[in-house]
């Protein structure tokens, strides 16, 4: 049972000299959860070359304390896991949350395995029920929603889907307020600010025999999927690489970025880094146009941040049509000629 006065530990990541946006969302989700059970929220963070972010970066996030581990500038996944493990041993939290981004999905299972506790991946909602954290996640490509608990082992661990413009609901009722407004790294609140956590700096635990990074190549210069105002998502309904090529030309003409479903990526129609969804990227454009996308919960986990969705699908039973603001039931073969009439050859 989660006892009142227990702790939630969240793993935070730096971004530049400040706190990453996903980390702020995660802290707020934890803070909403904490209110359901009189828990306190603590953060653990790896402080690299710049040291820990300024205290102001943690303001307004509902954090009671932050443990900052001084270590290497770009820690490996194993080094992050070791630091979080150390924090978990120091705090003995009831609940431990990690953002389910690429690195979080790698480090969290390491920590859970070492603590011999349960871990639920990619939670889309968390709540306390009878003192236990109920962790909701889609499985089977979204065909099934599972609620999972860790009744005995502690801490109760989850990776949490935090990206996307639509913050995850922590209590199923209200949206967490945008955390970063007025509390950015540049904003230095007064020392009297009651929302500031205490900051403790520790040496990161050494990890022997970690992999050595020989070379780093930054990626995605051409790629602005997360920031694009219009995204066109390609699904199996496009029929094949030819349809995808038309969609790409359409995206170019409309100034949109191109994304894809996992099914389309699995067939090799588009590279894996274009994938939108639970196991891919989360987008939050003003407009998402889906072409031949059925709209599984798993896809929507990455697309839910779109402010407006226009869905094109030939199958009137496709779930995306019910989720979109406008659902256009039409065959792509009938739509392409009309679009080419307006925009030129695609």
């Amino acid at each position: 049972m989660t006892t009142p006065g227990g702790a939630i530990l969240v793993w935070l990541e730096t971004e530049g000299r400040g706190l990453g946006e996903a980390s702020k969302r995660l802290a707020l989700i934890a803070s909403d959860l904490a209110k359901q059970g009189q828990l306190t929220v603590h953060g653990a963070i790896m402080a690299g070359a710049y040291g820990p972010p300024p205290l102001g970066a943690f303001a307004g996030l509902g954090l009671t304390g932050v443990l900052a581990f001084k270590g290497r500038h770009r820690p490996t996944v194993g080094e992050r896991a070791a630091a979080l493990l150390q924090a978990a041993k120091l705090l003995s939290p009831d609940i431990l949350l990690v953002a389910s981004d690429e690195r979080g999905r790698e480090m969290a299972p390491m920590v859970a395995a070492r603590l011999e506790t349960g871990l639920t991946a990619d939670c889309v909602s968390l709540r306390l029920e009878n003192g236990l954290m109920v962790q909701t996640r889609p499985a089977f490509g979204g065909d099934l929603i599972a609620e999972i608990i860790t009744p005995i082992a502690r801490p109760q661990m989850a990776t949490v889907r935090v990206s996307g413009a639509q913050p995850v609901k922590a209590n199923g009722e209200r949206e967490p307020r945008p955390p970063w407004r007025g509390h950015g790294p540049g904003h230095e609140p007064g020392l009297a600010d009651p929302t500031l956590p205490t900051l403790e700096v520790l040496l990161a635990p050494p990890v022997m025999g970690e992999p050595t990074v020989l070379k780093r190549t930054p990626l995605s210069a051409d790629d602005d999927l997360e920031k694009a105002s219009v995204v066109i998502a390609c699904g199996l309904g496009l029929g094949g690489p030819e349809g995808v090529s038309k969609a790409k030309n359409l995206a170019d003409k409309l100034g949109a970025s191109l994304g894809a479903t996992r099914a389309a990526v699995d067939r090799g129609w588009l590279p894996g880094h274009r994938q939108i969804g639970l196991s891919g990227r989360a987008v939050s454009p003003n407009l998402l146009i889906t072409l031949g996308v059925s709209g599984s919960v798993q896809f929507m986990a990455g697309a839910g941040g779109a402010k407006d969705i226009i869905a094109v699908n030939a199958d009137p039973r496709a779930p995306i049509l019910a989720l979109a603001r406008v659902g256009l039931i039409i065959e792509m073969e009938n739509l392409w000629p009309e679009l080419e009439d307006r925009l030129g050859p695609l």
Binding site: P109, E116, L144, V230, G255
Partner: protein, 300 residues
């Protein structure tokens, strides 16, 4: 300040470790000439389509029908086979699952791995990612030691992607995720490229190590006719095989199997609710206008 540095990787050795003869074997033989690196691949059979039936009481996915190889495991096997092609590695497959999951191992064997081990026992049913990781490790300890353990990025049913990193932590192996290319295997180290969303890393890992495979770099090969015609033998392992090396610890180890050894429990499952909204069935010109005008508005 922290305590004195522990001279291990992630802290003291994992609690539920049951030493057995294979894992304790001297590794000196690796220095011997003509040594072939040993690679283990963890694979899974998944239901053929999404939305399988669930156990009404426990919420597990009922794995009774036919299945297919998890799509992410093809690339994992491909990476192991490239290690075989380039460095003469011996490739063993490991899978845990119900009796009929043997077909996935047979299918995978036709691609060219050397041996396949199928862990199947009612005691192992209902394993979550931690219990699965432990059980696979024990099976690999029986047949190993291995220099490189390869896992797919995730499965298409559970989709947690947790078993690979959990195995690395339990074994205290260096870990590299999202491997998209093998650079070299020499001087007791594997050098790979790791494809993250924001960067491509070239990373060197000392052996033994564990990697998860990014599907981008390893398009699976097709089975050869010769391999298909070869007898494809799948070795079956049961819970008692896993216990055999340490009979005195049998009760403790058995408590870590399957549902009993899984710290997570499924509270309930449900199908997402469908929303039946009235939808437009537009003519092509109307549909094109809706799309173009909305895009222009969203850009402005």
């Amino acid at each position: 300040m922290t305590d004195a540095p522990e001279r291990t990787r992630l802290g003291p050795p994992t609690a539920p470790s049951f030493p057995n003869s294979a894992a304790d074997r001297e590794r000196d033989f690796r220095e011997a000439e003509g040594y072939r690196p040993r690679v283990a691949v963890a694979i899974k059979q998944v239901p053929p389509s999404l939305g399988g039936a669930t156990d009404p009481l426990k919420g597990f996915v009922l794995r009774t029908g036919p299945g297919r190889l998890n799509p992410h495991d093809g690339p994992a096997i491909e990476m192991a086979l490239r290690l075989k092609d380039r460095y003469g590695a011996l490739v063993d497959l490991f899978s845990m699952g119900p009796v009929q999951a043997e077909t996935a191992l047979k299918e995978a064997l036709s691609l060219g791995p050397d041996r396949a081990f199928h862990l199947t026992d009612p005691l192992l049913a209902g394993s979550d990612s931690l219990a699965t990781a432990r059980t696979l490790i024990w099976a690999m300890d029986l047949e190993g030691p291995y220099d490189i353990i390869v896992s797919g990025l995730m499965t298409s049913d559970g989709g947690t992607g947790q078993v690979g990193p959990a195995m690395a932590a339990l074994m205290d192996f260096p870990f590299a995720g999202r491997v998209s290319e093998i650079v070299s295997l020499e001087d007791g180290a594997l050098t790979v490229k790791q494809l993250y969303r924001d960067e491509l890393l070239e990373t060197r890992l000392n052996l033994p190590c564990l990697v998860t495979v990014h599907p981008d770099g390893f398009t699976p090969r097709l089975p050869t006719v010769r391999a298909r015609l070869r007898p494809r033998l799948v070795n079956r392992l049961t819970a008692s095989d896993l216990i055999a090396p340490n009979p005195d610890q049998a009760p403790a180890q058995a408590a870590l199997f399957g549902e009993r050894g899984s710290p997570t429990k499924i509270l309930r499952t449900h199908k997402p609710k469908a929303n039946d909204k009235v939808l437009a069935r537009p003519t092509p010109p109307v549909a094109a206008s809706v799309i173009i005008e909305a895009a222009l508005k969203a850009k402005s």
